[in-house]
């Protein structure tokens, strides 16, 4: 039978505050274990949490950027469960009255716009980190680092509007870009600043009612989101086709094996017994505060993309790629400041620059070629100092050595040969070395023209000005 996947995503994004959500400990990553903790973090008796104002402001930014409604009155709640990563025995989260609800994000899928609903965005604290394999001594203990406890998170819950693994990936990329444009999350998936759980069920195509869903946890990259969902679609399809039932359960994604594994019974008796946290007073958000935050919102990916198309006349495809991150968009506009030819710059960034970065697994922030240097090189092409072809190798050299274009061109003697006497001489040599081909060309085999161009280029190591080579060849043939 044909099935339609119904997917909803829960994203946990770490907010870029200096201090934790309920105490003054630092949120720095990678410090010595348990050096960023205090009695609030460890849930010591008598300690009291006090809310970090910036967490509220950042959450409001996220809410406004995703068209959410902001609740005038909201509460924190305790989510009770026992696990050693949670020293208090409960996690402070929001339950019945979250800060914001009911928004959406537009994604681009097969050049069609699709709207994905957002059910809610709420604030909560992160839990600690469990370490299982402490090298030599195997097996009898686990270890806990509480540096992470109390790091502020927002949980963004999508509506079950997603219908394929591609849509899931597009939604996550768009959401991550928005949070990064807002400067409220660094989007680092490896360090866990942007994590995703997926709910997925199948239903026969055309049916309205939802099937039984599973929740997939532990997905730490865009690629793995797609792989995990595709695996789960195959697994559930096979079950349903055999007339079996899908169990409602939590499954872990194992990226190494490429499968999801049941957490069997672990979740058993999960009854979080949520109740309003008496340690934290209610939150009232008044309209002036919302307007104050709204006034600080930057240009978001969607608006930037529209502006790039309108202002620079580049294709939508280019604009979409150039606005995937704020830094990339800034890089592009910075190049245009020195070299105002939008499509040429866009081509170079999308092909040469992004290719080199991808090879090294680097982000644009780590690009060794500053925008100014790329612009300088593009000018050298326009001025006829180097050919477009040579420019590609010059660019590679710039990327690897950090040198500027003109320096490389001088060092390697790559300056384009535009001296007509010199080119004429080489053209003459090429023609006299290939008398039969000249004969054939003159009898009408015009395809051979390319051969002559190639020979001249070869003789000049690609440095001859191609336009002049063409003209001189035509004259001589």
């Amino acid at each position: 039978m044909e099935y339609e996947p119904v997917i909803g995503l829960e994203v946990h994004a770490q907010l870029l505050t200096q201090s934790k959500i309920f105490c003054n400990c630092s949120t720095r990553f990678g410090e010595e274990p348990n050096t960023l903790t205090c009695p609030v973090c460890t849930g010591s008796p008598g300690s009291l949490p006090v809310l970090n104002k910036k967490v509220v402001e950042y959450t409001l930014r996220a809410a406004l950027a995703t068209h959410c409604q902001i609740a005038p009155y909201s509460l924190f709640a305790r989510k009770n469960y026992f696990y050693p990563d949670l020293p208090k025995g409960y996690q402070i989260s929001q339950y019945e009255l979250p800060l914001t609800v009911d928004g959406y994000i537009d994604i681009q899928i097969d050049s069609q716009k699709k709207r994905i609903g957002i059910i809610r965005i709420h604030m909560e604290e992160d839990a600690g980190k469990l370490i299982h394999d402490l090298s030599s001594e195997q097996g009898s203990h686990s270890y806990v680092d509480f540096n992470r406890t109390g790091v502020p998170l927002i949980e963004i819950v999508s509506a079950p509007d997603i219908r394929s693994s591609e849509e899931a990936s597009a939604y996550l990329r768009k959401l991550r870009a928005i949070l990064m444009f807002l400067d409220i999350c660094d989007g680092n998936m490896e360090e866990g600043s942007f994590r995703c759980d997926a709910n997925i069920s199948l239903r026969p195509t055309g049916r309205k009612a939802f099937g039984v869903k599973t929740e997939i946890k532990n997905i730490n990259s865009f690629r793995n989101v797609q792989r995990a969902l595709e695996f789960e679609i195959r697994r559930q399809t096979a079950l349903l086709d055999q007339g079996e039932e899908v169990l409602q359960e939590t499954r872990l994604w194992d990226a190494g094996k490429g499968v999801t594994i049941s957490m069997r019974g672990k979740e058993e008796a999960h009854d979080y017994r949520y109740f309003p946290d008496p340690d934290l007073v209610p939150l009232l958000i008044n309209p002036p505060w919302i307007e104050e935050i709204r006034a600080t919102l930057p240009e978001l990916p969607e608006a930037k993309k529209e502006r790039f198309i309108r202002e620079y006349g580049i294709p939508e495809y280019d604009a979409e790629i150039l606005t995937t991150s704020k830094s990339l968009a800034n890089y592009y506009e910075s190049c245009l400041g020195h070299y105002p030819k939008p499509k040429i710059v866009s081509n170079w960034i999308m092909s040469e620059l992004l290719r080199e970065l991808k090879k090294d697994d680097r982000e644009i922030e780590e690009c060794p070629v500053p925008a100014l240097h790329l612009s300088e090189m593009l000018k050298l092409i326009d001025e006829g100092i180097i050919s477009g072809k040579i420019a590609k190798s010059v660019f590679e050299e710039m990327y690897h050595s950090g040198k500027r274009a003109l320096e490389i061109v001088r060092e390697k003697g790559l300056v384009q040969v535009s001296d007509s006497a010199e080119i004429e001489k080489i053209v003459g040599e090429v023609l006299s070395a290939n008398p039969e081909k000249v004969e054939a060309y003159r009898k009408g085999k015009e395809k051979l023209f390319g051969f002559f161009v190639g020979q001249v280029m070869k003789a000049t190591q690609g440095k001859a000005n191609p336009q002049m080579v063409n003209e001189l060849l035509k004259k001589k043939l």
């Binding site: 505050t17 200096q18 201090s19 003054n24 400990c25 630092s26 010595e32 274990p33 348990n34 050096t35 960023l36 903790t37 205090c38 009695p39 973090c41 460890t42 010591s44 006090v50 809310l51 970090n52 104002k53 910036k54 967490v55 509220v56 509460l75 009770n80 026992f82 696990y83 050693p84 469990l130 370490i131 299982h132 402490l134 097996g139 009898s140 203990h141 686990s142 270890y143 806990v144 680092d145 509480f146 872990l252 008796a269 009854d271 017994r273 309003p276 008496p278 934290l280 007073v281 209610p282 939150l283 009232l284």
Partner: protein, 95 residues
């Protein structure tokens, strides 16, 4: 009776508490008598009373986003039954 013996067992499991049969019996009775007592409140008409979650009437208590020194790790770990290389040591958690 409102609270059944199964519910007592369920809550005990959630709270990681182990009771013998006698204790289960006793707690079932006690919990029920507590609930019965609380039910007196149901006699009041509270249709126009806002739920009270907090003992104080404050709202919007904030802290600025400023880092202050954390607690010395040794002191924190002194409160744990077991520590190991700066980490809290707990019984093995099977993933």
């Amino acid at each position: 009776m409102k609270i059944t013996r199964e519910e007592v067992e369920h809550v005990a499991l959630l709270a990681r508490l182990k009771f013998n049969e006698k204790e289960k019996e006793r707690f079932t009775l006690q919990l029920n008598s507590i609930l019965q007592y609380m039910e007196k409140l149901g006699e009041l008409d509270t249709a126009y009373v806002e739920p009270t979650f907090h003992a104080i009437a404050k709202t919007n208590v904030f802290r600025e986003d400023v880092v202050k020194p954390s607690f010395p790790r040794d002191l924190t770990l002194n409160n744990a039954p077991d520590g190991h290389r700066g980490l809290f040591q707990v019984p093995k958690i099977i993933e």
